[in-house]
Symmetry: C2
Subunit: 160 residues, 2 copies
């Protein structure tokens, strides 16, 4: 198994959606925990060049979150609400505060592949192709791939 | 001014969005309150044939809601989280529990037209045209028009 596999990033041709798919050497429970435990989440989210602190976190259906990622004193904040938290599925909203009126509806699914492997399906829906494509052109794949590599390392290390 | 004006219901041709537009004889503050005060909201939401009770309500950024509409003992429940609550804009998620995996991202804007008139812009975004069009074919315009007529009556009565 290639633990450093790249994430598949797909732009839907018909709706303003981005879909990420990545396989992890992890159980669904481990992936769920990495997305809902703020101490774990802060350790892996985003590119290697950023450090993240959790400002507010209540990972339950109807809860909300805010976190701040920083590099050399420059801060980027993100917030949203958790529409649904269940073991195999998380639905949440997501706003980058540098674009305060922008908002994505995100759905994460943890597909059990057996043998301690899980496929993460992450979908982001926005209300325009312009907004979706600007995000794709922003270099988001660096943060996605570096973040998911950290997530995998975190799970591998904790299990060791 | 025609207080019983129908709501304009527009299906976007390029993204799976429904947009509702309706003018009210109300200030933005009155429309905001009718959408955030649970006692008021329960009095106007939905078609005339349904009675609504609020199960849970916390209308602030990062809060959530659940309400139950009933007719002859048959209950329909809805829930979501409030991504953003501000005087001119509400962003929230919305799920009908009869279709528990379905979720819409809704944005409401209150455009001040002056002279005590406000234009409501309501947008619902889902992740497929099939889902969007099934909703349009469901007869939703009855609930929309009857609900907004009740909202207008409520504001007119309270101001009298």
């Amino acid at each position: 198994m290639n633990l450093m596999a790249e994430t598949t990033i797909e732009a839907d041709p018909t709706v303003p959606v981005i879909r990420l798919t990545r396989d992890f050497a992890a159980t669904p429970e481990q992936l769920f925990r990495a997305h809902t435990d703020p101490r774990l989440f802060a350790q892996w989210v985003g590119p290697n060049s950023l450090t993240t602190r959790i400002d507010q976190w209540d990972a339950r259906t109807g809860g909300s979150f805010r976190f701040v990622s920083s590099r050399d004193g420059e801060e980027h904040a993100f917030h949203g609400c958790f529409h649904e938290i269940r073991p195999d599925r998380i639905v949440q909203t997501f706003t980058y505060e540098g674009d305060p009126d922008g908002v994505a509806l995100e759905t994460l699914r943890f597909e059990d592949l057996g043998d301690g492997r899980t496929r993460l399906h992450a979908q982001s829906l926005v209300d325009s192709f312009e907004g979706r494509d600007a995000w794709l052109r922003s270099g988001m794949e660096v943060g996605v791939n570096e973040g998911y590599a950290k997530l995998q390392e975190l799970i591998t290390r904790d299990a060791a």
